[in-house]
Amino acid sequence: MIEIEKVEVAQHSDKQKNLQPRVDKGLIEMFLKMTPEERVRSNDNTIRALVELRNAFKKQKTSSSRSERPA
């Protein structure tokens, strides 16, 4: 019983460790190779993609809630 508890504690701390936000060094390297203009444009493109995804999600949610309604 005691051993099981120990294992659980160890797993829990591993999980906690994995949940710690990590810095993506490759992404930083990629960004530093760009010009300031390219970096701001990349931010704009990311926002655009996020907005498109959000709109698509909303659309899907609306159409699925419509189809779930009883006739």
Binding site: P21, M34, V40, D44
Partner: protein, 174 residues
């Protein structure tokens, strides 16, 4: 009361920055875009500037804000356009514009305005214009003092970017 199309626009912060430069507005770029411009891979939805509070500059900024249909960002549906008094004050003017959210700040932390911030800026070439950008060192120092959880999360990315930037600069020097 003037009516505006309240449908949110997809921000185009490059266009907003270009417009400010073309209008000849003097400002220091601060906030998320300042960090992005210097190489930090973070995403930000608004443009933050600290403007020079001279009559001439405020006039230029007002003219530009009118041209991009700026109005105050509010939780209700009231449409209130900014006026010169807002830009001459010491507060933050949070706006919605045709190109996305624009925050016009008189001062940032510790009451530092345009003149005080100039010494902590780097000059960046952007679309043919020279832009004063708050240095990443200063942004990191400010975020270290912040208690906002969002800032704490971003701080790790900003610190790593700064560390790598310094390494690259040292390599270039050697």
């Amino acid at each position: 009361m003037p009516s505006k199309n309240k449908k949110p626009q997809v921000p185009d912060l490059s266009a907003l920055l270009k417009g400010l430069n073309e209008a000849g507005v003097e400002f220091v770029l601060v906030g998320g875009v300042a960090a992005v411009a210097q190489g930090a891979p973070v995403t930000t939805f608004d443009l933050d500037i600290v403007h020079r509070q001279t009559d001439e500059n405020i006039e230029k900024l007002m003219k530009f804000l009118k041209s991009i249909g700026a109005y105050q960002r509010r939780p209700d549906d009231k449409v209130i356009e900014p006026d010169e008094r807002d830009l001459k004050g010491k507060g933050h003017v949070l706006l919605t514009t045709r190109f996305g959210p624009l925050d016009v700040l008189a001062v940032i932390e510790k009451g530092r305005g345009f003149e005080e911030l100039l010494t902590d800026t780097v000059e960046i070439e952007f679309q043919g214009f020279k832009v004063y950008v708050l240095s990443l060192e200063t942004i990191v120092a400010l975020k270290r003092e912040s208690k906002d959880p969002k800032d704490q999360y971003r701080l790790q990315i900003l610190e790593e970017t700064l560390r790598r930037m310094r390494e690259i600069n040292e390599d270039d020097y050697l």
